[in-house]
């Protein structure tokens, strides 16, 4: 078996800077065959004998008190085996993250958004379950609702949580409001900074809530037995998270729950939490039968993870030489029905791509009657970059400077302070800026009638806990078991790192995603951490194995272990008196030299390297319809080291296209009465193949010194720049700067018309 070169992707490097044998190659992924053959099992693909179907009844109101729920009629309907409501769940604490999770899974005294789960039924067929759920009689007392930031922050706004007192304001307010928290980052003196500036630009921006839009709706099958044990098959970004969250919501001990990861059909952050597993578990417990719940697309839109909309006011000053002297930002982010940290993250990201002596950033996290936010690739960073990089672009235009030169002029490097305090470690922003500047795309003259935009994006990346077990089989192959679900090719990355360490052909390595009972604890796949952190555990386990292998060879040769080296998959006798022993020779003889060979590593991964991306787009704008067409797009991203360049490119391209959707088309549209008006892919339009050009990629490799192979996460930052990139390109094409997203045809047409008159 051999590695295969991917079809040419323009501008791609990413070929393992430093002579690795496997890292940086592009083998066919190990789980690929099942996925192209239609055999891979996602959560909705599992059926168990005697399995029932669950259906969840959801609130039609955005804000209401639940006066009563009558399930008598529903319980008597054909096929119905169990009916549950919020009253069947343990009581939620008065506030905090646990309450938010518990009350998202099922409403208690109040519903807080249209689509909020209220009750659930398990019945023999899907249709019986749905019919019975619809027969549950809920009496609501409707309450006034708030759907956007301005209304929620207004004086006298209806208050959603009567115990929510704004944090971060001194002294703390004594009256509740919808502002959950205020965050401030400050350095130097912004007024002095504006004083030093030759030009000052002040603008206000807005972005709309969008959905992660994974193609697989949330699904699970739960089988609870009479001893109180539950087996959950679920599609998620982390099955240990499913276990702990389900246990929390049900008040169960985690040891009662085993979670078997199904293949996951996309997550992008949206599957870092749970919605349906505890409901299915309780229905299964009541009915004594396995229960499957599959969300409809409509429910996915109405009740799961939007990324927040935002309002951001930016004021930036610069000198004529292009030095940005100061930035002042005011940010407000939707949190959905429960408080989150969206604005805090926005504050941390908003000016991160710039060195500033003076800055003042103030953010507000705002609750309102929409489903609670869930992470979406580099959460909060896209809207923040949209604001800052739009203003920076305007400054470049006003100063007549090349927008990349301006950014290079203000680019932070290692040791400079981040806006949120600590110093930057080694980062690749400058390299990404230079990569785009030197790209064929940027060096090619802009075709007539088009506009070009560039922008930057930043995201932290996260380490956290991971475990891996590597077993060597008697025939010289290896099994690599990790606790990270494979969302976009991580099995292949794990196998590549193990291949590099052990000196084994990558196809002699079987990567496996283990359930919660076969592999050590592993945090949810978020913050671009799987290849970084779980990969680190794989490498550590392999290094342990190499020591063991050397010892076995030393035993065989009756020599000192120090005399044995591990070279290219074989034990080599330093003094050269012995023929090398291959891995297969050692494992084949393992029982005689001390037993089977295996190693486990569990660790808190440290040193996740910050990620930057710089992107450029050419667009044309149809002045008749307002339609923006992306004609050419190039993205450069610092991957640290690309373990499997094809999947690094895939992450970059996927992130870019999600960002393009956010910039051009996607938005949640709520009616005044608080219902989502576009809960389907027809009216919530994500980009399709015919909307797009090829997405050219430049993998920049500034190795992360904290990782054995220099990996930085690549999963998230790609979604950040497209919002400002396209706004800047449209401004370049039309001379009209639009500061409200999405740049949908009606909005662009309105702006063009307004500019003309």
């Amino acid at each position: 078996m051999s590695t295969t070169e991917a079809p040419a992707s323009t501008g791609t490097n990413g070929n393992g800077a430093s002579g690795y044998r496997w890292v940086g190659t592009r083998p066919v992924r190990h789980d690929g065959l099942d996925k192209v053959a239609g055999k891979a099992r996602y959560a909705a693909d599992l059926n168990l004998p005697g399995m029932l179907h669950g259906h969840i009844l959801r609130s039609p109101h955005p804000h209401a008190r639940i006066v009563s729920i009558d399930t008598t009629k529903a319980a008597a309907m054909p096929g119905v085996k169990a009916v549950i409501t919020g009253a069947d769940f343990p009581e939620a604490p008065p506030k905090g993250a646990t309450r938010n999770l518990m009350c998202t899974v099922i409403a208690r005294d109040k519903v807080l958004y249209s689509g909020h789960a209220v009750a659930a039924v398990a019945a023999s067929t899907r249709r019986e379950a749905k019919a019975a759920a619809e027969a549950i009689e809920v009496t609501y007392e409707q309450l006034p609702h708030v759907l956007n930031i301005a209304d929620a922050m207004a004086d006298g706004a209806p208050v959603i949580h009567d115990n929510l007192l704004t944090r971060g304001v001194d002294p703390r307010p004594t009256e509740p409001s919808n502002v959950a928290a205020r965050t401030v980052y400050e350095r130097g003196d912004v007024e002095q900074g504006f004083g030093e500036a030759d030009i000052v630009i002040e603008r206000e921006f807005s972005t709309q809530a969008v959905h992660q839009g994974y193609i697989e709706p949330h699904a699970c099958v739960v089988d609870c037995d009479q001893e109180g044990k539950a087996v959950i098959w679920a599609s998620s970004q982390g099955h240990f998270m499913v276990r702990s969250s389900t246990a929390t919501v049900l008040g169960w001990d985690t040891s009662r729950i085993k979670v078997i990861p199904a293949e996951i059909g996309g997550g992008f952050g949206g599957k870092t939490t749970i919605y349906i597993e505890p409901v299915a578990a309780l229905l299964s417990t009541k009915a004594g039968r396995p229960v499957k719940i599959v969300m409809s697309r409509e429910d996915v839109f109405r009740a799961t993870g939007p990324a927040p909309g935002s309002i951001i006011k930016m004021k930036v000053g610069a000198r004529n030489d292009g030095t940005i002297t100061t930035a002042k930002a005011w940010l407000a982010y939707e949190n959905g029905a429960f408080q989150g940290i969206a604005a805090m993250l926005g504050c941390m990201c908003v000016v991160s791509a710039y060195t500033l002596d003076h800055l003042y950033v103030e953010g507000f996290d705002v609750v309102l009657n929409r489903p609670v936010n869930v992470a979406y690739r580099a959460p909060s960073a896209p809207a923040a970059a949209f604001a800052m990089d739009s203003v920076v672009d305007e400054i470049a235009a006003r100063l007549g400077m090349d927008p990349i030169d301006l950014r290079l002029h203000n680019c932070p490097s290692q040791g400079d302070p981040t806006p949120y305090g600590p110093k930057w470690p080694m980062i690749g922003l400058r390299d990404c800026l230079e990569a785009i500047r030197d790209s064929d795309h940027y060096q090619t003259a802009l075709p007539d009638g088009q506009g070009r935009g560039v922008a930057t994006g930043f995201w932290f990346n996260i380490g956290e806990a991971s475990s891996a077990t590597v077993n060597l089989n008697e025939n010289g192959t290896a099994t690599v078991i990790t606790g990270s679900p494979d969302i976009g090719g991580s099995r292949a990355s794990m196998a590549l790192m193990a291949a590099e360490e052990l000196g084994l052909d990558v196809h002699l390595i079987q990567p496996v995603v283990g359930d919660t009972e076969v592999v050590g604890f592993t945090d949810v796949t978020e913050g671009s951490r799987a290849t970084f952190a779980t990969g680190m555990a794989v490498v550590e386990a392999c290094r342990d194995l190499k020591t063991q292998l050397r010892k076995r060879a030393a035993k065989t040769w009756d020599c000192d272990v120090e005399e044995v080296e591990w070279v290219d998959g074989s034990a080599v006798h330093g003094p050269g008196e012995q023929e090398p022993l291959t891995l297969a020779a050692i494992t084949g003889n393992a029982k005689r030299t001390g037993g089977p060979l295996g190693a486990t590593a569990s660790l808190n991964a440290r040193g996740a390297g910050p990620a930057f991306s710089v992107q450029v787009a050419d667009v044309s704008v149809d002045s008749e319809t307002g339609r923006v067409t992306v004609e050419r797009y190039t993205t450069a991203q610092d991957a640290g080291t690309a373990i499997h360049p094809s999947y690094v490119e895939g992450q970059m391209q996927g992130g870019v296209v999600q960002g393009i959707g956010w910039a051009l088309n996607e938005e949640y549209i709520y009616s005044d009465d608080g219902n989502l008006e576009n809960p389907g892919f027809l009216d919530y339009r994500i980009p399709v193949a015919s909307d797009l050009p090829m997405i050219e990629t430049v993998i920049v490799e500034v190795p992360n010194p904290s990782h054995p192979y220099g990996v930085r996460g690549v999963g998230e930052v790609g979604i950040v720049p497209p919002l400002p990139v396209l706004a800047n390109a449209v401004a370049d094409a039309t001379g009209v700067r639009i500061s409200d997203l999405p740049l949908s045809p009606p909005r662009v047409l309105d702006a063009l018309t307004a500019a003309e008159s």
Binding site: T4, A6, P7, S9, R26, V28, R29, D31, G32, L33, K35, V36, A37, G38, K39, A40, Y42, A44, D45, N47, R127, G213, Y214, I215, E216, P217, E263, G265, G266, G267, F268, V294, S296, R297, I487, G488, G489, S646, Y647, E649, G650, Q651, Q653, G654, G655, V656, V657, Q658, G680, F681, L682, I686, P687, V688, A689, S690, D691, L692, M694, I695
Partner: protein, 159 residues
């Protein structure tokens, strides 16, 4: 509850199943025949994850009532490969890394097959329009389009 007996041909095999009126062909394929390759991403004809070829035409199986399949010839993703060889589209998708999560892959393979059956030498633009009914949220379509173009070459010029 009344159930209809449906006989048809799926991936070359004569099959039959019982289905409720109003049930979708997608559910019948998945639940009655165990063919889980076609996925439900929306149930409303907007995502293409449930794509099949029925009587030579690309269809969303979520929009077809199961009884309508009576007498039809249906190809699903499971019918693309032979016992010992993948379809060139499947092979090119693997080698071109045209899948990340893979949930959309069966639908894209079927839509691409329907295209290449009709037009063995499509341009990039033709591929993009032919696949516009299939949503992929992971890949940005780049590697999918390249892989379909590569498969077209391989099918036209067998090794």
């Amino acid at each position: 509850m009344s159930r209809t007996h449906v006989t048809c041909e799926v991936n070359g095999d004569a099959v039959d199943f019982l289905t409720e009126d109003g049930e979708s062909l997608l559910n019948a394929l998945r639940d009655e025949l165990g063919l889980i390759g076609a996925k439900e991403g929306c149930g409303t004809g907007d995502c293409g994850a449930c794509s099949i070829i029925m009587n030579g035409r690309l269809q969303c199986s979520c929009l077809i009532f199961a009884p309508e399949a009576g007498g039809a010839a249906i190809t699903t993703c499971e019918g693309l490969a032979s016992a010992d060889e993948l379809h060139p589209l499947q092979q090119c998708f693997l080698e071109g890394a045209a899948l990340q999560c893979g949930i959309c892959t069966p639908g894209f393979l079927i839509a691409a097959k329907a295209l290449l059956d009709e037009n063995p030498d499509p341009t990039e633009t033709e591929v993009r329009y032919a696949l516009a009914g299939n949503l992929c949220r992971c890949t940005g379509y780049d590697k999918i389009v390249r892989s379909v173009l590569e498969a077209a070459v391989q099918i036209r010029t067998p090794a």
